[in-house]
């Protein structure tokens, strides 16, 4: 080796260092990455507007080995289904670690559903890594509720009779109304009245259920495709006041100043067309001459038609009993339900055409959809058994209320039967147009339920009150229902079952009602929280007002709050609705008739917000701790309605249920 050799080696080593020699290459261009690929995070999915569970990770390599310190740019689509990285941008940079891995910031799906690609790119690298991601729709839980009501319409040159029935689909997470159908009929569409577009009915396009999680009280707004409905200021939009008794059942009244009514709303458990089953029914409304009319009877559905049945009718005082339904071909035609459980009936005899809404296999709401008449009612299944006088064995509470069109009256009471003799005895109260002729009236009369020998035990019957014992209430049609059904709360399978439907078939009165078994008269059972409501009339004008409310009962004292619907401005001349009207009164046992209470010495004091209090003299009859009925016995007003004990959960809305439960735990 000559003396120059060491300097040559030093020079070579220096050149290698300057070139960045790392033992793998002596060429500077070999530091550049060759490829970028997906390491993890592809193939994920999440619901819209939520964060993906794992980050997107890309790996950058050279000759199969990871390169550190390399910047990677992640890019999501600018439009359509996509998402954003932390900070809100559709792009983000990350630098590779010692293993060559670059991890994106958290990535959140936008509001559009679909599958898309997020790319990872490195400067100078020809390929890019593609991450496939999917935004999925929010999982929506919905429930259908069937509603119906009847009362007096203030729009369309009212007062007019009107009936409404429908089904509404509610998102139980948010309360949003996501669909539905309804029928509205004021009975004179042939001459300027309001009838939904038939035979299909109106569509409910949207709306909102807003209720308190602790009281179950609130409003249901329905936005429809029919501009005839609702107040003139919001064509097509109806608002109902709702008072939930439990998560499946509410009392309702129209609550927007356009009309007022009373009815109910119940969870739909079936949409199937009823077939091969027997039903009892009542229906009330106006006839083609706009006179009040009521029907009651029994029928058996075959396959799309009726195989038997008969009905009573009281048409403004003209009464016909046991009119046979036309069966088989040429008779009543029952058309199939749609996806929401709405169907129609042709040649129905009690109307030319009906629409019906299925709540469950044994509960159906009916509405007349003719252009010249209107009515609404219910049909309840009769179960598999047959009926006789023995089917009404025991003690019962009844409520009988006028058709909301003319001759306003109300009667409630209780009676004990002797099936062998076909007799009963009891006590009742009655208010006819503000004339209380029968307070604590003693009843002794007869009843009959058609037995197997007479009519196959189909549950058709009657109850007669001797002339004058209960003023003009004397002749009642009785139609037996399935002993397993609760007539007020048809999804309640644990209490309050059994009874019958009533039709008032007097020459001076037209009305409907129910008979329910009395299982407790204990004052201690009349306690805790109750939902209540009533359909009322001011006696001088016979104009209607309604209320639904809720309150606590402690030592028979009610302390409640209510929504009052008053489109005819009967409480004052300013408001058509009241929210937060207080209802305070003490129900005192009458001392003679267990189960009968009076709010007279301590009347029910109703105070609409901003108005003077109004005292109401009220009588109550207790069927059980779960349900009672009350009657206003004033001269200026009369009303009839139910009180129904509230469940622990008083809302169908999932979020509110959770709050409700939490609150109850806190309260305890």
């Amino acid at each position: 080796m000559n003396r120059r050799t060491p300097w040559l080696l030093f020079t070579l080593i220096g050149l290698m260092w300057v070139a960045g020699f790392d033992g793998c290459s002596c060429n500077p261009s070999n530091k550049e990455p060759e490829a970028v690929a997906v390491e993890s995070g592809s193939g994920q999915s999440t619901t819209v507007n939520t964060q993906f569970g794992a980050p997107l990770v890309a790996v950058v390599t050279k000759n199969g080995s990871g390169l550190s310190g390399v910047q990677v740019t992640f890019t999501a689509p600018a439009n359509g289904a996509s998402g954003t990285f932390q900070g809100g941008s559709t792009t983000a940079n990350a630098t590779t670690d010692a293993n060559g891995s670059a991890t994106s910031p958290t990535f959140t799906a936008n509001g559009t559903t679909g599958t898309y690609t997020v790319t990872a790119a490195v400067s100078g690298v020809a390929n890019q890594a593609d991450f496939s991601l999917t935004n999925t729709a929010v999982s929506v839980t919905t429930e259908n509720f069937v509603f119906y009501a009847s009362g007096q319409e203030a729009i369309d040159d009212g007062p007019n009779f009107y009936a409404v029935a429908g089904v509404v689909t509610i998102n139980t997470s948010t309360g949003a109304v996501v669909g539905g159908e309804e029928d509205y009929n004021d009975g004179f569409a042939d001459d300027g009245g309001i009838l939904s577009v038939e035979p299909g009915g109106d569509s409910i396009t949207s709306g909102q259920l807003t209720i308190s999680s602790t009281t179950g009280q609130g409003t249901l707004t329905l936005i429809t495709n029919d501009p005839q409905l609702g107040p003139d200021s919001t064509p097509g939009t109806e608002t109902f006041g709702v008072q939930f008794v439990n998560a499946k059942h509410a009392l309702v009244t129209q609550f927007d100043g356009s009309a007022t009514s009373s009815g109910s709303m119940d969870l739909q458990t079936s949409t199937a067309t009823p077939s091969n089953a027997s039903f009892a029914f009542t229906s009330a409304g106006v006839d083609p001459e706009y006179d009040p009319i009521v029907f009651g009877g029994v029928f058996t559905i075959g396959q799309g038609d009726l195989s038997g049945g008969s009905f009573d009718v009281d048409d403004a005082g003209t009464v016909e009993f046991a009119q046979p339904f036309t069966t088989g071909a040429g008779g009543v035609v029952i058309n199939s339900t749609d996806a929401l459980g709405r169907g129609t009936v042709s040649n129905a005899q009690i109307a030319a055409s009906l629409a019906y809404y299925v709540i469950g296999p044994e509960v159906i709401r009916l509405i007349d959809i003719d252009t010249t008449d209107s009515a609404v009612g219910s049909a309840y299944g009769q179960g598999s058994g047959t009926f006789s006088a023995s089917s009404l064995t025991g003690t019962f509470v009844f409520a009988d209320q006028a058709n909301p069109w003319d001759a306003e009256y109300g009667a409630i009471g209780m009676f004990t039967t002797d099936p062998g003799a076909g007799t009963y005895s009891g006590v009742a109260d009655d208010n006819e147009g503000g004339n209380v002729f029968a307070a604590e009236a003693i009843l002794n009369g007869t009843y009959s339920i058609c037995g197997a020998a007479g009519c196959g035990g189909n549950g058709y019957g009657s109850l007669t009150i001797p002339d004058g014992d209960l003023a003009e209430v004397a002749t009642l049609g009785v139609y037996m229902t399935d002993p397993a059904l609760n007539l007020n709360d048809p999804n309640n399978t644990t209490s309050g079952q059994g009874g019958a439907l009533l039709a008032d078939l007097d020459s001076n009165l037209v009305g409907t009602g129910v008979i329910v078994p009395q299982t407790s008269t204990s004052t201690s059972d009349f306690a805790n929280n109750y939902a209540f409501g009533a359909q009322g009339f001011v006696t001088e004008s016979a104009f209607e007002y309604d209320f639904v409310g809720q309150g606590s009962v402690t030592a028979s004292a009610l302390d409640g709050s209510s929504l009052i619907s008053d489109p005819f401005e009967l409480f004052d001349e300013v408001h058509t609705t009241f929210t937060g009207a207080t209802f305070v009164g003490t129900a005192t046992p009458d001392g003679v008739n267990a189960g009968r209470y009076l709010m007279t010495d301590n009347p029910l004091v109703v105070t609409p917000p901003g108005d003077q209090p109004v005292d109401f003299m009220v009588v109550l009859y207790q069927a059980s701790g779960g349900q009672l009925f009350w009657l206003d016995e004033d001269d200026f007003s009369l009303w009839v309605g139910p009180l129904e004990q509230q469940a622990a959960t008083v809302t169908p809305l999932a979020a509110a249920k959770s709050n409700s439960n939490t609150q109850k735990k806190t309260t305890k």
Partner: protein, 159 residues
């Protein structure tokens, strides 16, 4: 808290008028057997004539004790036997083809007499004034509504 007695003075005055029961012979025998306001026995109908002295029509709120015993407008009619409180049915003065009546009009009423809350009231089924006859109730006592009037009028039929 007590029920408000707004209008009590007018109620008292009205009651005093009602209690002055007209003394025409047919009244007592014509009072319907049934006590309810809606009971109507057409076989007990009578006809009375007189001059309208007042037209009483229900007002909007506030809620107060009922001034009269049957829903809807009433007429106070001066007859040869005294003043009669006549119920016209709830729809007589509203809607299309409503009755137009004023104090001073001569009227002839067909209906039945009742006692409600110890007050005599004439439940009118028809009212004739001039050459016009208005049907106010049907044969069972149900009020004839504006819709009914119009429909039957179109058919050329008396309600």
């Amino acid at each position: 808290m007590k029920r408000r007695f707004t209008g009590l003075a007018s109620l008292t005055a009205l009651a005093a008028i009602f209690l002055a029961t007209p003394s025409f012979a047919q009244t007592n025998s014509a009072v319907a057997k049934s006590t309810g306001p809606f009971a109507y026995d057409i076989t007990k109908e009578i006809t009375i004539s007189g001059i309208v002295s007042s037209v009483l029509s229900p007002a909007k709120g506030p809620l107060k004790p009922a001034a009269w015993t049957m829903a809807g407008p009433h007429l106070l009619v001066t007859t040869s036997s005294g003043t009669v409180d006549a119920s016209l049915g709830r729809f007589a003065l509203v809607g299309k083809e409503a009755l137009s009546i004023a104090p001073g009009n001569q009227v002839q009423l067909t209906g039945i007499m009742k006692n409600l809350r110890n007050q005599p009231v004439f439940v009118a089924r028809t009212l004739k004034t001039g050459n016009q006859t208005f049907v106010l109730r049907n044969k069972h006592g149900f009020s004839v509504s504006p819709q009914t009037r119009e429909r039957l009028s179109e058919k050329g039929v008396q309600p």
